[in-house]
Amino acid sequence: MKAKIVITPKKAVLDPQGKTVQNALALMGYTGVGAVHVGKYLEIELTGADKDMASRQIAEACHKILSNPVIEDYRFEIE
Amino acid sequence: MSEPAITPELVQKHNLTPEEYEKLKATLGREPSYTELGIFSVMWSEHCSYKNTRPLLKTFPTKSPRILVGAGEENAGIIDIGDGLAIAFKIESHNHPSAVEPFQGAATGVGGIIRDIFTMGARPICSVNSLRFGPITEDAKRANSTGANELSPIANNRRLFGGVVAGIAHYGNCFGIPTVAGEVYFDKSYEGNPLVNAFCLGVLRHEQIARGQACGIGNPVFYVGPATGRDGLAGAAFASQDLTEESAEKQRGAVQVGDPFMEKLVCEACLELLATGAVAGIQDMGAAGLTCSTCETAARAGTGIEIELDKVPQRAPDMSSYEIMLSESQERMLIIVHKGREEEVKRIFDKWDLPWSEIGVVTDTGHMVVKHHGKIVADIPARKIADESPVYQREAKEPAYLKEVRAFNLSGVPDTQDPMADLKALLGWPTIASKNWVYRQYDHMVRDNTVVCPGSDAAVLRIKEDCLPAVSATQHATHTTPEKLIALSVDGNGAYVYLDPYEGGKIVVAEAARNLACSGAAPLGVTDNLNYANPHNPELFWQLKESVRGLADACRAFNAPVTGGNCSLYNQHPAGPIDPTPTVAMVGMIDKPEHITTQWFKDEGDAIILLGEVVDASDPLFGLGGSAYLQRIHGLKNGTPPRCDLEKEKELHLALRALIYSGVVKSAHDCSEGGLAVTLAESCISQQIARETPRLIGAQIDLTEEAVPPSPPLEERAGERRPVPNLDAAVHGDSPTADRAAALRLDALLFGEAQGRVIISVAAVDAVKVLAQAKILGISATRIGTVGGEGLQIKTPGATLSGDVTELHDLWWNSIARAMR
C-alpha cells in the first residue's frame, strides 16, 4: 500500500511562494490564473495490509508531525 | 551483467586519445576491462590529473617556512599561524555542474571544498566564493554586444546567478559555515558558462593534521556516509570537455544532489573520530568518488588497496561496478583505520546515525584491486595511474587579438560629458554595485567569529578556541589558545587578463594583497583557481601560460606562496571562450585587533589621503585600458590594462600596514574597478549599520591640481598644496602637446584604474604627520580632501561633481536587487 499525502498552507497564512508563482504565470501570459498555493506532496510506502489501520496511523502522523496544524492543512489517500 | 566491448569509439567517449589508450595498456600490460577504462578516464582527466597544466603549476612559488603541507601533497595546503595552530584552505571550481543545474551545482561545489578541508583534520570555519555570470542588466552599450535578441540570454543569466547564489546559501547556511567574502563579475564572456569557485578554510593544531594515505598493511578500509547512487556519473570527465548544449543536456539527469545536513554530521563524526587517534588515513570521495579516493590514498602511501563493491552501501538497485566506482554521490568519506580499532569507528558513526561499512583492506601489492560479485573487475597499479598520468606541453601562440588591443588608443573615445552621470552608471553597474543581494542570503556570522562582515575590502575573522577540532579525551589541552585574526580576499579581473594575460595575472594577486593590506593584514598564502578555455587552442593556452607567469611573479613579490588550487579548463560556450579568469583567494594575518581597518569613512573632518599616484603618467591609456568605465560607458572591452609595478605595489602595502600599525588610519579602501571616483563614493556609502540603515557620510574632494602628470618628485608632493595651474586649455583638448592633453582627460582622472592606489582617512590633526611618514616610507601621498559636508563633491579642473549620498547609495546598494526582481 501507499499513502499519498498533500499538505497545503492554510488559506489565512501568507504564502509568498504561491504569490510568486502566480505573478510568474501572469507575467508569462497565462490568463485566468487566480491564487496559487504551494504545498508539499509526500508518498509513503506502507508494508501492512490493513487499510483502516493505515488510515488511522497516517491521520495521526499527519496531525502530529507531517503537518503543522497552525499553518497547514492536509489530506491523504491510501491506495 | 555483460559489459560493453572496448572499441575505439568507446575509448573516445571516455575522452582518452588513442595515444593515451596505448599508455593505459602499457600501464596495465593488457587490455582494460570496462570498469578499468572508466577508472583511467577519470584519473587521467584534466580535473584529476592536471595533465595540461602541471608543467605550468610547477612554476608557482610553493615554499615558505610557514608551510606545513604544500601544494599537491594532499587535499589542501596547510599553513602555520603560530602557537601550534595552523590553517588549511583551498579553492575549487564547480563551473560545469553549475551551468547544468545552478542550485545543486553550486551547492555541491561548496560541499566538496568543505570536505577537502575537514579531510585534513581541520574544522571548517569559513567559506568564500568567486562567481562569474553573463550580464544581468541591459546596458545601453554592452561590451561585445551582439545586438541580437538580448532578452533571453539575460533572463538565463539571472536564472543562473539566482540559482548559484541560492545553492551556495543553502549548503553553507545549513552546514553552519559562514560565507564571509566573495566577488561577482558579470560579463558577456561568461554567458552560458558561469564560473563558480568555492573556497573553504579550516583550523587545526599542528599535531591534528590528517593524511589521505592508505597506511599500514592490513588496516581495514571503511566507507562512511550515505549510500552510493548513480549521481554525477563521470563528472570529472564531464568537467574536462567543452560545454555544449548537448553535453549539458546529457548531464542534466546525472547532477549530484547535495545534502548539507548529512555533511554536517559526517564532518562532526570525522573530527570526533580523528580525535581518537584510530584513523590511519582519511580521504573524501570527491570527483570520481571511490576511484580517486582509493587510488590516491594507496599511491600516496605506496601501498595497495583492495575493496569489495558488494559491501558498498548502494541506493539504486543493480548498480554495475563501473557505476559504483565512478559515482559522485556526495558526502562520502573513505577512512583507513588502525587494525583493532574498528569498534571506535562504529561507535562514533552510530552515535551520529551515519551509515558505515568496512569495504576493504590495505595491501602490500601496490595495486588497487576491486572485486564485485566475487570477481576482480579492476586491478591497477595505484601509483602509476595516479602519478604517471600523461603530461602535455601544449603549444602556445600569442593571440592575434592582442595586436588590436595594443594598438588601441583613446583618440576615438570622447572624454566624459557628464562625469556624475557616469559615476552613477558605474555605481549601479552590477560588477561594481554592492553585492548585498548576494551576501545577505549567506549566513556570514554563524560560529561567532566574523569581525568584518562582507562589504569591506577583506573579511576579517577571529580564530578562537572553539574553532579547533576537539582534542581527544585523554590528551588534555595544556594551555589556552590565544586568539588569532585572519583576513581573506578573493579577486580576479578577467577583462584585464584577457587584454594582457601577464599584467592581468599580476594584478589579480596584487589586488588581493592590497585588499588584505587595507584591512591591516599581511599575506600568509594563496590558493588559486585557474578558469580557462580549451588548452588545445594555442592562443587560449598562451593566455593560460602568460597569466600563470604573472600570478607566479606576483605571488613571489608578496611572499604569498601558493598552497594549492584547482584548474578548470574547457570553459567555453558555442559563442566563444570565457575571458581567461584566474581567481586568487589570499589569506593574511592581522597581529592585533586594533589593526583591523575597514573601508568606509568614519568621522566628519577627517583628512582624505590618496596613497599612490593620481594618474600613471607612463601609461598611454592612463589606467583606462580594460577599465569598467570603458566597458560600461563606452561599451569597449579593449586597451592594454594598467601596469602593475610589483616593487611599488609591495612598498605601498608595507607603508599602508606601517601607517595602520601606528594607529592613525581610520579607513582604507583600495582603488580598483571604477577608479578614484568609485572608490571615494564607496568610502562614503558602504557602511551598513543594520537593515535599511546605511551610515552615509559626505566627502569634499579637490583634484584640481592633481590632474597634472607627470607626478612631481616626492619632496614637493608631501608638503603644502601648490598653486593651481590653469588647466582649462589642456582639459578642452587645445593643449599643444598631445600626450599632455590626453593625460588630463577627466575620465582618466576620475575613472582610470591605475594600480597601486589606496584611499585612507585619518584625523585632521594627523594628516601632516601621515604625509611625512609616507614620504619616509617612500610612497607618494596626497591629501585630496576632507570627510563630511553636503554629499560627495569632487572638484576637478574641468568640472565639479556633486552627488547626493542617499542617491548614490541607492544606486549602488539596490541595483542588483532591482535587476533580479
Binding site: - | 545536513f261 549599520i689 537593515r691
Partner: protein, 237 residues
C-alpha cells in the same frame, strides 16, 4: 549558573551560545545531546539555532520529537527558563511550548543582516535587564522567520504582553521596511503565558562582544541570569 544548551543533529549555533555563556559571561554551560533524556543539573535551557535534521520536513518539526525535548517539556512545566533562538524558536513553536509558527520569509530568501529590536516589555525573565527605550542591534540569519499566528492567538499575545521584541527602524518605529521577514506585527520574539519560555529569531549570541561589532545581545542572557540569581550579576569581560 548552569546552562544546558541542546545539541540536535544539524544544530550549528550551539557552540556560539556556549562560548558567550562561558567565556563572555563567565557561567557554566554544557552541550546536551538530543538523545539524552535528562537535563541533569540545569538552571536554564537554551535551544540554539541551526538546521536541526536539515529542517527537512518543516523547521523544527523533527527535533521536537527528540528524547531531550520530553525533558525540556517537563522542565518548562515546572517553571524552568527556556530560551529558543532562531531554529530553537521554531522548535519551541513546533513543540507547542510557544504559540504560533514560523514560516518562509516574505522575500523567499534567506536573510542575514543586523536588525534593530525594540523590547516591548521588561516584565519577563528575558528582558528585565534591558533598559526601557534601548534599541538592541542584533543580527538575524534565517530563511523561515516570518512569525504567524491566527487572530485570536495574536490578540491573546498582545493582551498578555507576550510579545517581547519587535523589529523596528533606527528610530524605533515598527515599519514594514524594518520587518525583515514579513512577521505579523513585526514580531521578533515572544514568550509563553507563564513567561518562563521565550523564543526569538534574532541571534543575541552573535551580538555579545564588541569585537563582533555589538554587545546588545548580552542583555538577553543577563536578564536570564538576573532572574535566576535574583540579583545583578558581576560580568566577566
Amino acid at each position: 549558573m548552569n546552562f544546558a544548551v541542546l545539541q540536535f543533529p544539524g544544530s550549528n549555533c550551539d557552540q556560539d551560545v556556549v562560548h558567550v555563556l562561558r567565556n563572555v559571561l563567565g557561567h557554566s554551560a554544557r552541550l546536551l545531546w538530543h538523545k539524552d533524556s535528562s537535563l541533569g543539573e540545569a538552571d536554564a535551557v537554551i535551544v540554539p539555532g541551526g538546521f536541526s535534521y536539515g529542517d527537512y520536513l518543516r523547521t523544527g518539526a523533527i527535533a521536537r520529537f527528540s528524547p531531550v525535548m520530553d525533558a525540556v517539556q517537563r522542565f518548562a512545566a515546572d517553571g524552568g527558563l527556556v530560551l529558543g533562538i532562531c531554529n530553537g524558536f521554531q522548535i519551541l513553536c513546533e513543540a507547542g511550548l510557544l504559540p504560533g509558527a514560523l514560516i518562509r520569509n516574505r522575500s523567499l530568501q534567506f536573510r542575514c543582516e543586523h536588525t534593530f529590536l525594540k523590547t516591548a516589555t521588561a516584565d519577563s525573565s528575558f528582558t528585565s535587564r534591558i533598559p526601557p527605550d534601548k534599541l538592541l542591534r542584533v543580527p538575524i540569519a534565517h530563511g523561515e522567520g516570518c512569525y504567524f499566528a491566527d487572530e485570536e492567538t495574536l490578540a491573546r499575545l498582545k493582551a498578555n504582553h507576550q510579545i517581547l521584541w519587535r523589529y523596528v527602524t533606527a528610530q524605533g518605529e515598527p515599519t514594514e521596511a524594518a520587518n525583515p521577514n514579513g512577521s505579523l506585527d513585526n514580531i521578533a520574539g515572544i514568550c509563553n503565558e507563564q513567561r518562563n519560555v521565550a523564543g526569538l529569531m534574532p541571534h543575541p549570541e552573535r551580538a555579545s562582544e564588541l569585537i563582533l561589532g555589538c554587545a546588545d545581545g548580552r542583555l538577553v542572557f543577563e536578564s536570564m541570569i538576573h532572574a535566576l540569581v535574583g540579583k545583578p550579576v558581576a560580568l566577566a569581560t
